[in-house]
Amino acid sequence: MDPIVACRGLSKTFGKGELAVHALRDVDLDILPGDIATLAGPSGSGKTTLLNMIGALDKPTSGEVSVDGQPLGGLSRSQLSELRLSKIGFVFQSYNLIPVLSARENIEFVLQLQGVSAAERHDRAMEAIKEVGLSGMEDRRPGKMSGGQQQRVAVARALVSRPTIVLADEPTANLDSRNALELVDLMGNLNREHGTTFLIGTHDGRVIEHSMRHIEMVDGRIDSDARGST
């Protein structure tokens, strides 16, 4: 099976000389279709940096990342935007919803960028809202929703464009236990029902427990990569 994400010899250094910080050191990693993988490790271990590289948000100092067979090196800013729009979904720790848009509009926003027609946008957004269990809350703005509900909207926004992979950075860090568990269940269900691939940077044991693959990072290197079952 061809990997959805392939990292080869990936290194990232911030700063120069004595102040240089080696955030990633020669990382090789493949993410396979249908994986629900967690990326864990202590602060500064390189989880977020690796997610940024895979999400085409940042460029490596050396090495290469391919997403869905497409090497990212050499792509222009505009081409990287296009790639993120079509192939990658993001879920952030602080939800990062657009505060002036309703839940449905936030979800539709990505489809608008893709140029999807208004009718199709509406249908797909409503379907995604139903899928994350927020039916009836589509017209609420983020400020009128709980953290758990906002994170569900963020998941719906990440999924609605049918991305190749969803990258989630500490998605449960701002949620209480009940909401965190519900989110973990939601991602597990989406993975099982639609084969959605997740790569989740997390410290949260509940998330790690539910993943089918656990990658541990230490000092910018992959320390362990264990596959289990959810």
Partner: protein
């Protein structure tokens, strides 16, 4: 493109109201700037127009005809004959509303107390009433009755300085045609109230009476004409000059250089004012929009992370700026229109008119809606506003998408 605008417009509008105070401050800055440009433009145009009309109506007229050399040395040796048939026909042209002839000679006026230099103006009172505002400015007594009226009308200030007044007699003296001095006593029948400079300079008597006093045989010093439309000035001056090639025909712009320069510099002044207002507005707009962009760095990073291209971020922020400045400009236009409407009965400028006699301002200034300005200046400010707001918009478009993620950790 239109579809993109359709989705971006509501988003841009909602984004504007995320920080109502900042948006309100920017709107107020733009609206006040727009108001000041439109209101002061209307005011300056009305003031300049009033000043010009007041000066032209006083004695100057739209133009004057003199003998060659009179303007350099307005003496009795530089007089002219009344208009011949050719000149009279040219003066009766449709563009000319009215004309008359005057004797205007330097002289001396003497009361029991004082002797002052003056300019003796012999007029045809009936024609003068159609051309000059002086007959309508009689404060005491009456204006002259006829060209033969051998009484005088003095300025208020001159009468005070001479310590004379109605019913008293004054003596006028001037050089006559034979090189000697003519001297005659005149009854003061009227006192006029104009600006001090005019009051101190001119004393009026009948034209035929002045000619008799000076020993003239029908000679005059000037023909003064008034046009129906200002636009016909150059053509009329040319036609009159062609009809009387030996005479010195001048429009008001060549007779009163100060007034002419004020008229032509008014446009420059308005544009300098526009520039100052715009510079102040630009500082306000750029400052608040830069703050807005800085506060929303993470959001722009998020939009870039979600796949929004830098150009689209630029367009989105520019639409926000265009809406913000556009609403401010509209508010300023409404404010200016209401202000101009509220002073539709005129602004009482009499206190300033006294203080600014040099420029002969009318006592009531009537403002008008300058439609050209209402179309041009708002458009200009809107476009220039968008242009300066491109700087914050470009900064927004350059927000790194990694910022959104980095601030998470």
């Amino acid at each position: 493109m239109i579809g993109g605008l359709k989705t971006m417009l509501p988003l841009a509008w909602r984004n504007l109201w995320r920080n109502p105070r900042r948006t309100g401050i920017t709107l107020i800055v733009v609206a006040i700037g727009m108001w000041s440009v439109l209101f002061f433009n209307a005011f300056m145009i009305a003031w300049a127009q009033s000043s010009k009309e007041t000066t032209l109506q006083l004695l100057l007229g739209s133009g004057q005809i003199h003998a060659e050399g009179y303007m350099d040395d307005p003496s009795i040796d530089a007089l002219m004959h009344p208009p011949d048939q050719d000149l009279a026909s040219a003066l009766d042209a449709p563009a000319v509303a009215d004309w008359t002839t005057r004797v205007v000679i330097p002289g001396v006026i003497q009361s029991e107390y004082k002797t002052l230099p003056t300019t003796i103006v012999g007029v045809d009172p009936k024609a003068e009433a159609r051309i000059s505002s002086i007959p309508g400015k009689i404060a005491e007594g009456r204006y002259l009755n006829s060209s033969d009226d051998d009484s005088v009308v003095l300025g208020l200030h001159m009468a005070e300085r001479l310590k004379t007044g109605l019913g008293r007699r004054v003596i006028l003296m001037s050089q006559n045609t034979e090189g000697g001095m003519s001297e005659q006593s005149f009854d003061v029948v009227g006192v006029y109230d104009a600006d001090k400079a005019t009051e101190d300079l001119y004393v009026f008597t009948g034209r035929a009476a002045s000619q008799q006093f000076l020993g003239l045989e029908g000679e005059i010093a000037q023909v003064v004409f008034v046009l129906k439309e200002e636009i016909a000035l150059e053509d009329t001056v040319a036609a009159l000059a062609a009809a009387a090639p030996a005479l010195d025909v001048r429009g008001w712009k060549d007779l009163n250089l100060f007034l002419a320069s004020m008229d032509s510099y008014m446009g420059v002044f308005i544009h300098v004012w526009l520039g100052i207002v715009f510079a102040l507005m630009a500082i306000g707009i750029v400052n608040t929009q830069l703050m807005a962009v800085f506060e929303r760095t993470q959001e722009f990073g998020l939009l870039r992370a979600l796949g929004m291209k830098p150009r689209r971020v630029l367009v989105m922020v520019t639409i926000e700026n265009a809406l913000l400045i556009g609403v401010g400009v509209l508010l300023g236009m409404v404010l200016a229109a209401v202000t101009i409407w509220s002073v539709r009965d005129g602004i009482d400028f009499s206190a300033f008119a006294r203080a600014m006699e040099m420029v002969q301002t009318g006592e009531i200034i009537y403002l008008d809606y300058e439609m050209d300005a209402f179309l041009l200046f708002p458009g200009l400010i809107w476009l220039l506003g968008i242009l300066v707001a491109l700087w914050p918009a470009i900064r927004a478009s350059r927000c790194s998408p990694v910022e959104a993620m980095r601030r998470e950790t």
